[in-house]
Symmetry: C2
Subunit: 415 residues, 2 copies
């Protein structure tokens, strides 16, 4: 065993023990510790900014882009936001202990299905140091021990944040940060299914691919968001323009932003010029299918690749389709099963679309930008899962829990 | 690409298309097809027995044990049981379409969380041919397309069963059986996460290990059942004897059978002789810790290995412990997180035990043998998951579903 392997396995054993200790805490005890974590963050602004300064300096020396450096940067306002976020999590209801179902069998045995913590969760992430606090705190609230493995760019910030969180009276090893940032540490984590019940990778496709191919335990991924808006023939076209503009331009760099618009053939000639004007006013580049080009004239031609691309930029692919079934077929084939919306006043077409689309979030007359734990009212979000098992779509606190069956009887035997 | 790879990928594409077709069926349409499947099975007894005869002949030539041959064997009664099982699944409520949660946001958007099929499920199993029908039918009921890969011993039976099920009007490719039984086919299935949303391996530890290490998609495992019974100092000792005998001997070869008994030090001297007499009357070999041997005298000594062993046989390991926390620690360390029971009249000790034990099923004064989908009232069981994500413990129909968020609005935008 290498030193890295030994260290991380030791952290795994410690995380398991911490998970059992965490499982003994009441909601009030956890919330008191969370508030102490927020206070510790507020009391450590100078240390956190100093540690972050080292990362920024190293980042500049490495030639990181301005955008990368901005992601990495902490300032007083961001540290305060981190603390306020922790206080907010303390206020949320605790899903642990919730009885999901209970019933009695004819033999008198009473069975309860109760939410319990998952146990131990590995979080593998890239440059943003605030993930250290966000992920650790959501897992702590739900009684899970975490092993965090952040990117090398933020290592000083991450260490400082983890050290501050650990001043607040949490059970020993409830929150552990891996001191290594090389790739071997990811492989070691992915292999130790005895000590980690779940891995959540947060970052680019390369990182997620690596984790998926190595992991022996469950992984919850959030891959691309290639989101679609389908303008039906029965759409309110003004509403469709507003939804297209909002979905595409309100925040183009995020996973619930619109990437492809599908338009019913019967309304394309009327709708596309209206939409093009509004979208171009916001600086959106349009790439269209043949029919779109015929109507708009000056759009760029879309290639097959465009239908499979998450631009995360002010670019929109547009395709004219023969109806809602063609829209569904296109989405199920080219989409990323994240979020799609239909604009229509035809309730039946809407219901057929919602049922047939194989995506985590399917909307009727709603901007794709509402596919978000905050907008759903979850209070906190650890990510948006594009998986179908365990958690799908926005993940709040309850998605960080498992369940257990508890049965109570009076000596019932089967024989 | 090898022929095996090409064939199986093609089946994957077909399964995905079939899943979309299945998702369009109503519960009534699915149930009508299920009843037609049962009728087709009843009308094909001769073909099924003939195909099974080929497997039995090959099995005898290969020198399979009598127990293996019995697992492999179909007869008229077993074929009828298969058909009756399908009829029973048709009668069960369909979880698909069930609204798990619904709420309205302050902006007027109404959100529903609705159960939907998972999509496509790979089932990899070993010798019992009835798994072909059981698994395919449960997946069909929940709107999932299946790709089945059975063991080589049952290949003729499996082909015949799949062919019969496919005479009943299900969407094309809803149920597909892989025609290969070599190990490459398992690797190919495990790699094609584009086409399979979930793999469920049913079989020995070697098979499960292979699938876990290769799979890129979620896997739901059922590993060992190293189940424990803890006799507390406040136990009704007669009840404890009855529960120990039932848990250990009612069906010793199954995963919810008892393997290790933990006994509180204060009652060990009184309880162990009573228990030993009753267990030995049923032919159980006892292996004890030092304290157990001191009391029982003639038990065999248990080694460290015994605490980690699933005997699946008339052998019981016994350990004297200092209290319920020591019992919990032993279970969480040595158990397989399947099913554990406490025998006590002390309600507080029971509640502490239920909460602290990290297992799918935790029981109070109930035989471990009740950890079973049928006994829970699920009507059908695809297995008992020892995983914590998505499904834990007995898996019925609802564990074969995912969910989707459907939101309806009037043109809400975020900007």
């Amino acid at each position: 065993m290498s030193t890295i392997e030994e260290t991380i396995h030791q952290m795994g054993r410690q995380a398991r023990a911490a998970a059992y200790a965490l499982n003994q805490l009441t909601s009030d005890e956890k919330n008191t510790i969370l508030r102490a974590m927020a206070a510790a963050v507020r009391g450590s602004v100078a240390e956190l900014l100093e540690a972050n300064g080292k990362d920024l300096e190293a980042g500049r020396a490495k030639g990181l882009s301005a955008a990368m450096l901005d992601r990495l940067r902490l300032d007083e306002a961001r540290v305060e936001a981190m603390a306020a976020g922790i206080d907010q999590v303390a206020e949320l209801p605790d899903p642990v202990g919730q009885v999901l179902d209970d019933w009695q069998r004819p033999n008198g045995i009473r069975i309860e299905q109760v939410r319990v913590p998952i146990g131990t969760i590995g979080i593998i992430y890239e440059s943003r140091p605030n993930v250290t606090a966000d992920a650790a705190v959501l897992c702590f609230k739900t009684g899970n021990a975490t092993i965090l493995r952040g990117g090398s760019e933020a290592i000083h910030s991450n260490r400082a944040i983890a050290a501050v969180l650990n001043q607040a009276g949490a059970p020993e090893h409830a929150i552990q940060l891996i001191p290594f940032t090389d790739r071997e540490s990811v492989a070691v984590m992915a292999g130790m299914d005895e000590w980690l019940d779940l891995i959540i990778p947060r970052g680019g496709k390369g990182l997620i691919e690596t984790v998926v191919s190595l992991a022996r335990m469950p992984v919850i991924k959030h891959y691309d968001g290639i989101c679609h808006l389908y303008v039906d023939r029965a759409a309110d076209l003004e509403m469709a323009v507003a939804l297209a503009v909002d979905s595409k331009t309100q925040k183009p760099g995020v996973c619930n932003a619109l990437e492809t618009m599908l338009v019913h053939r019967e309304v394309a000639a009327e709708f596309l010029p209206m939409a093009a004007e509004a979208l171009r006013a916001k600086g959106v580049e349009l790439r269209g299918c043949g029919e779109t080009l015929r109507i708009l004239g000056d759009a760029k031609p879309a290639t097959e690749e465009d239908w499979d691309t998450e631009y995360l930029d002010l670019i929109l692919a547009i395709k004219v389709v023969d109806g809602e079934q063609a829209a569904v077929d296109h989405i199920n084939r080219h989409g990323s099963h994240h979020t799609e919306t239909i604009v229509t006043n035809d309730e039946e077409a809407a219901e057929r679309f919602l049922r047939a689309v194989d995506s985590a979030c399917v909307f009727h007359n709603v901007s794709t930008r509402f596919a978000d734990g905050g907008e759903f009212g979850f209070g906190a979000e650890i990510g948006i899962s594009t998986d179908k098992l365990h958690a799908r779509g926005p993940m709040g606190l309850r998605e960080l829990t498992s369940y257990q069956y508890r049965a109570r009887g009076e000596g019932q035997t089967k024989g």
